[in-house]
């Protein structure tokens, strides 16, 4: 992924060390947001935009399922999958880590939506779909452990301790299944992590992500508005109204620059 345009790659320092305990969940969250919202002058100039939305303060969320070390991984990974950048707040600021943790505790996380009976044939052709015996929460647990082991072997530190560009390289290796020994499991984990991260970013805010409807504002999706009676006869005319969430909260139309 070296062709990713990320002016911060190589500039950002490692995430703060993560220790189990106390108010760390909150502190880590804010630390990550603060860190990842650093906007270098060159980036502001390069993005050619006048105004820049500050990321919303992360609510104090304490993970229920993820252990402190796993939570550090989640924060550090989501921060690279959907970074905070010139296009607006990233996954961490949008609450995606909270979304992921909450999903793990729901029937979905426990595998209630999947057929989980054996026998299992994990070496079946990829085109026949997921064939591991792990539920989503089990896959996260195993996948994070595999990623951290790989990080330890390569860099002597857990994934969360890596610089942004190192995290990108390792995530790409997970994605391609090129991490030795756990290759297929790591790739399956990465695929689910990426899928769930996008879900959290774009889903209704009531699930914990897309906080402040930042993802919807970024692309101009009006969310749960679900009434375009007044636009049936106006195809191609830019839609002027901002998004609305299922709980009734509304957002103004994107004001972060851009032309649409």
């Amino acid at each position: 992924m070296s062709d990713l345009h990320d002016p911060r790659a190589g500039h950002a320092g490692p995430l703060p060390d993560v220790q189990p305990g106390g108010r760390r969940g909150f502190l880590r969250g804010t630390a990550t947001v603060a860190l990842s919202s650093v906007l270098l002058p060159s980036q502001a100039a390069a993005s050619g935009r006048e105004t820049r939305q500050a990321p919303l303060p992360a609510a104090a969320y304490r993970p229920v399922y993820f252990t402190p070390n796993e939570w550090a991984f989640i924060l550090a990974a989501v921060d690279r999958l959907i970074p905070d950048d010139g296009n607006g707040p990233g996954g961490v600021a949008a609450g995606v880590p909270e979304f992921l943790d909450r999903q793990m505790e729901l029937p979905y996380g426990h595998g209630a939506y999947w057929y989980m009976q054996g026998p299992f044939h994990p070496d079946s052709p990829a085109t026949l779909g997921y064939q591991l015996r792990l539920t989503p929460r089990e896959l996260y647990r195993a996948g994070i452990a595999a990623a951290d082991r790989a990080s330890m072997a390569l860099h002597g530190t857990a994934f969360a301790g890596l610089r942004a560009n190192q995290r990108d390289t390792l995530l790409a290796a997970l994605e391609q299944g090129s991490i030795p020994r756990d290759g297929s499991l790591a790739a399956a984990f990465f695929a689910l992590l990426l899928k769930n991260t996008r879900e959290g970013f774009f889903a209704d805010p009531m699930y914990g992500g897309n906080r402040g409807m930042v993802a919807w504002k970024m692309i101009g999706f009006p969310g749960a508005r679900a009434d375009f009676t007044d636009w049936i006869d106006q195809p191609g005319k830019p839609y002027p109204y901002g998004p609305v969430a299922i709980d009734g909260s509304t957002g103004s139309i994107r004001s972060t620059g851009g032309k649409s």
Partner: protein, 594 residues
Amino acid sequence: MSTPARHKPVDAVIIGFGWTGSIMAKELTDAGLSVVVLERGPARDTSPDFAYPRIADELKHAIRGDLWHRLSRETFTVRHRVGDTAVPYRQYGSFVLGTGTGGAGAHWNGQQWRASPNDLRIRSLYEERYGRKFIPADMTIQDYGIGFDELEPHFDHFEKVAGVAGTAGNLHGTIQPGGNPFEGARSSDYPNRPLPPILSSQLFANAARELGYRPFPVPAANSTTAYTNPYGVRMGPCNLCGFCEGFGCFLYSKASPQTTILPVLKGRANLEVRHDAHVTRILLDADRERATGVRYVDAAGRETDQPASMVVVAAFQLNSVRLLLLSGIGTPYDPRTGKGTVGKNFAYQMVSTTSAFFGEEVAMNPFVGAGAAGQQAIDEFNADHFDHAGKGFVGGAMIFAGATGGRPIAQMPLPPDAPRWGSGWKSAVRRHYAHSSSVATMGSVMAYRDRYLDLDPTYRDAYGQPLLRITFDWHPNEYRMTAFTSARAAAIVRAMRPQRIAQHVLQPGDAYDVRYYQSSHTTGGAIIGTHPANSVLNRYSQCWDVPNVFVLGASSFPQNIGYNPTGLAVALAYFAAAKIRSAYLKAPGPLVSA
């Protein structure tokens, strides 16, 4: 195992309360029969289950699939070839399954097509026009033995029941401007006028006209007015809310059993609907020539028998075939010998998409859309609407354009070289989401000797019964079909003059991939035909082997068509119901002599 509880016998039991089950419940109760409907899923209605704003939730409905059947309880196994080990379809991908009131008819898109006249006599037509050698030896396509003119009144009736919006293309044999010139002759116009095309469809239609094609509005079971159907049920106008596929309609505009038929069934003394009732088998008498009722597991987990004089199987296509196999009705198909019929001729559809990426000055408003309303299509390259000589394939595809809601988790069109994550992905999402459109081909898939359904030897459902096994992969005919039709789609997209084009077309050698949604248009396995040796059902959807069993739905298609299947499935259901009422109820027995 204790002896199953036994209900009072009824005239008819219907398995499944989707489109075809609802139609049959209406027809049989109209005829005065006592009817029990067994639906394995929950009771659902527009209110409260589909109420706004909670229905406008992409994650819950279109991603997790809260209205779909839970695969954890029962799924299918899939393999590509005879002799391979099949593995379970553990997560939703390729197709989705309905459950509960309305079945998949509650959360479908509402694309309401009639079959093409030549879809119904495909083998005869190709042999007549192109010679017998044109059809590959292992292609097992068959005629329905039903004429289009016989089905036309039923297509017409359902369009009125469902408040379908469209533009007639062939009225009484006269081609009409603005409609589909390839459709069979209609006895009357659509009951609703179509909505104007949304921008993505408009650009497609303009480009298609430029190339000499005749685009028309996709027939949409999304009412466009305050409309009262022939049953007296009132529908509301569609507002292009963008929440059709995977969602129930909160506006009473998308046709579903709930919005078109069920209101008139409420309170009928001769109808009882039992939800959370999972039918495990059809019960047969000693000589296996007559069904005596069905056995099901109720919500409390009790095995219960419902005796009935006739059994209507109206489950989802795959589940209907499975139920026949579990019940020992008919002879299971054997791909090695070609003998047996149950499970034979399973088919699917081959789809392709061509994406057009425009500049940020083009406001595509992809969230303004519907499952079918506002969309446009061309039919020049479907069925035998074009000369197949020298093309090297049977079949074709309907080509259509539109937006069904631009829901951002699942409907995010990005160029193939866009990064999958990181800042590059974010930029691509930002640039393309509101400024792209796509054109799709819905390609027919023929039936083959080695593509079939049977019971899996290993995997079981939550009730301990074998899962259904799907043996399926693509054949050269379909790779050629999709190459040809997708090239035509690409030419139209180029004429739309976007900045960039990207195409996803299956290439020869690409295997059937269960991971990606393609369509829920699985067909066959309990097919209609002209003789017990080549089919499970006669032309009235009646089992040759057990004449008091009728099987409805796309399981009866001998091969698949280049349209969404609901229109043909419901027309066959009404056609069967008419014959049951006019002949079978007077003299129960075989309606076609073998």
